[in-house]
């Protein structure tokens, strides 16, 4: 118990440093299985971010964050359930951790006590990240406009890509919103 912990030791490096170190190690001695990392990272450096291939792959792999605040989250769940079946368009990959996601669906009212948490989640998501304001409350405060504890629209805190109207919007509207986002990322989306 009394043992001193060295926070600079290999086990306590953070993920990025660790990955860099792994790549460096593998570049030193080729032939190890770790050489894979160096080659992949070189490949990604070679492709410019503005290329159509990057655009296409970003557009077609949206990973929404599983994050519900209030009423609209129920419709969000319905969006993933049997009738609407979001999976047929490849949208339903709700992950519980922000580090694996790039789309944030703000479903519900955002209170002042919740703002730091929402901000933190947004900052933890991988770039490039997008925000959809789902429903009246996330768009402008909705029915709680006059309340003392409400942020009147998530766009006061985060940059919003798509707004969805309705209280709550039907799950079909979320389909439209995600298609809108895809259009924004890279041209027209077919049916």
């Amino acid at each position: 118990m009394d043992e001193e912990i060295d926070h600079n030791s290999r086990e306590f490096l953070n993920a990025k440093q660790e990955m860099d170190q792994l790549v460096m190690d593998s570049m030193k001695s080729e032939g190890k299985p770790n050489a894979m990392f160096a080659k992949l990272s070189d490949l990604f450096k070679a492709i410019p971010v503005s290329s159509s291939m990057v655009k296409w792959s970003r557009k077609n792999s949206l990973w929404p964050l599983q994050f519900g605040l209030a009423c609209c989250a129920i419709e969000l769940m319905d969006f993933g359930a049997a009738r609407i079946d979001a999976e047929r368009k490849g949208y339903l990959l709700f992950r519980a951790t922000p580090r694996q996601c790039d789309v944030m669906l703000v479903a519900g009212w955002v209170t002042k006590s919740m703002v730091p948490e929402v901000k933190r989640l947004y900052e933890q998501m991988t770039e490039p990240r997008h925000v959809i304001a789902f429903g009246e409350c996330a768009t402008c405060g909705g029915p709680w406009w006059e309340s003392y504890n409400i942020v009147r629209g998530i766009d006061q805190v985060l940059p919003v890509d798509v707004y969805v109207a309705g209280c709550p919007p039907r799950p079909e509207n979320l389909f439209a919103a995600l298609m809108k986002l895809q259009e924004k990322l890279g041209g027209k989306v077919g049916d």
């Binding site: 599983q66 209030a70 769940m77 009738r83 009212w109 919740m114």
Partner: protein, 363 residues
């Protein structure tokens, strides 16, 4: 030595945004401290600034899994303050819609509970299919999918449509078969049994002392249900029986809801067969006139999650004060009692069995 870990406020299993500070020793829970308030928006204060019948939309957002029940409780309080009688057909219509709403809410509970246990996404898909059918029926009857605002003073906004009875009976026949299927699927599943039977026991004495109501109380062996203890509307005529189970563990709480769905299904059938002809539409408030000043009314209703009380002090145009006894807020504080001494992994199956809605807790 105990370790404190923080769960939430954003966590897939906290049913919204709830922060739990959990003290653990090894894998055993020593104490749970719920930190609430992440969804607080001051409904009780907002209602004081609105005319009487402008408030039902706020009330519906208190419990978004069963919106109509809160709407009805508030309108019942206004009716008591203004001294309005509810028409007989409207009473039946309200009972039918409330019981359908209860079925939708309990179906949602099943899906959420199995999700919290980690692996049974199948159940989530099944119950949402059936829940969508209930929402279709209610949409047919009220014109809205989720927030209905169908209560008016002395009646309802829209009467039942002509083909409602047939559709409703067809759905209930389907539902009865489905409930049997759910039972078969869950009660023979060793994982489900392992995580529910004997987990999170709440004794009848503790439940009474903590003020727990609803299915959670009835699973602990206390047959208290507002619908039979203080019958309102036509529950007395329909021969309602409160469900009761003895064990008080997660399995009993799940089982109570299954039995309540069957009871609700029976009540809707009974009400559909006995519904009288006539007028069910309510009147706008301007035809009824202002309320008396400083009349205090308390209305008690059985929501899907427990007993809700509306305490209202009236003023001519708007409520002078409205205080809501929210069932979820009180049921949440039974969680530390149930979780102490359990394994950390069981915390969320216990919380799932309480069926909380955080908007109802925070108000």
């Amino acid at each position: 030595m105990s370790t404190r870990i923080n769960i939430g406020p954003v966590h897939p299993s906290t049913h919204g945004v709830l922060h739990l500070a959990v003290d653990i020793e090894g894998d055993t829970i020593k104490d749970v401290e719920p930190h609430i308030g992440f969804l607080h928006r001051g409904v009780e204060k907002l209602v004081e600034t609105r005319m009487y019948m402008q408030s039902p939309p706020y009330m519906e957002k208190l419990d978004y899994v069963a919106p109509m029940s809160y709407d009805e409780a508030y309108v019942a309080a206004v009716e008591a303050a203004l001294g309005v009688e509810v028409k007989e057909r409207a009473q039946y219509v309200r009972v039918i819609e409330l019981e359908l709403q209860r079925i939708a809410s309990h179906l949602f509970f099943l899906g959420a509970l199995c999700n919290d246990m980690g692996q049974m996404f199948t159940m989530f898909m099944w119950v949402f299919e059936d829940r969508d059918r209930v929402l279709d029926l209610l949409q047919e009857a009220t014109g809205q999918r989720m927030f209905y605002v169908n209560m008016r003073l002395g009646g309802v906004t829209m009467d039942l449509p002509p083909d409602f009875t047939d559709n409703c009976i067809a759905f209930l026949d389907h539902l009865d078969k489905r409930i049997t299927e759910y039972e078969k699927y869950l009660e023979k599943n060793p994982v489900f049994i392992e995580r529910t039977k004997g987990v999170g026991i709440l004794s009848a004495e503790d439940a009474k002392a903590l003020g727990v109501t609803g299915p959670t109380l009835r699973a602990s062996g206390v047959p208290y249900d507002v619908r039979s203890a203080k019958p309102y509307y036509v529950y007395g005529k329909l021969g309602f029986n409160a469900v009761k189970l003895e064990k008080g563990d997660n399995f009993a709480r799940y089982r109570v809801r299954i039995l309540e769905m069957r009871e609700s299904s029976r009540l809707v059938r009974e009400a559909l067969s006995k519904i009288p002809d006539g007028d069910a539409l309510g009147a706008p408030i301007r035809l009824i006139g202002p309320a008396a000043k400083n009349r205090v009314v308390t209305v008690s209703r059985e929501l899907p999650r427990g007993e809700c009380m509306m305490y209202m002090v009236s003023d001519p145009q708007r409520p002078y004060r409205l205080s809501i006894r929210s069932p979820c807020f009180i049921n949440l504080y039974a969680l530390p009692h149930m979780a102490r001494g359990q394994r950390l992994a069981d915390l969320f199956s216990i919380m799932g069995s309480l069926d909380l809605v955080m908007a109802c807790v925070d108000r």
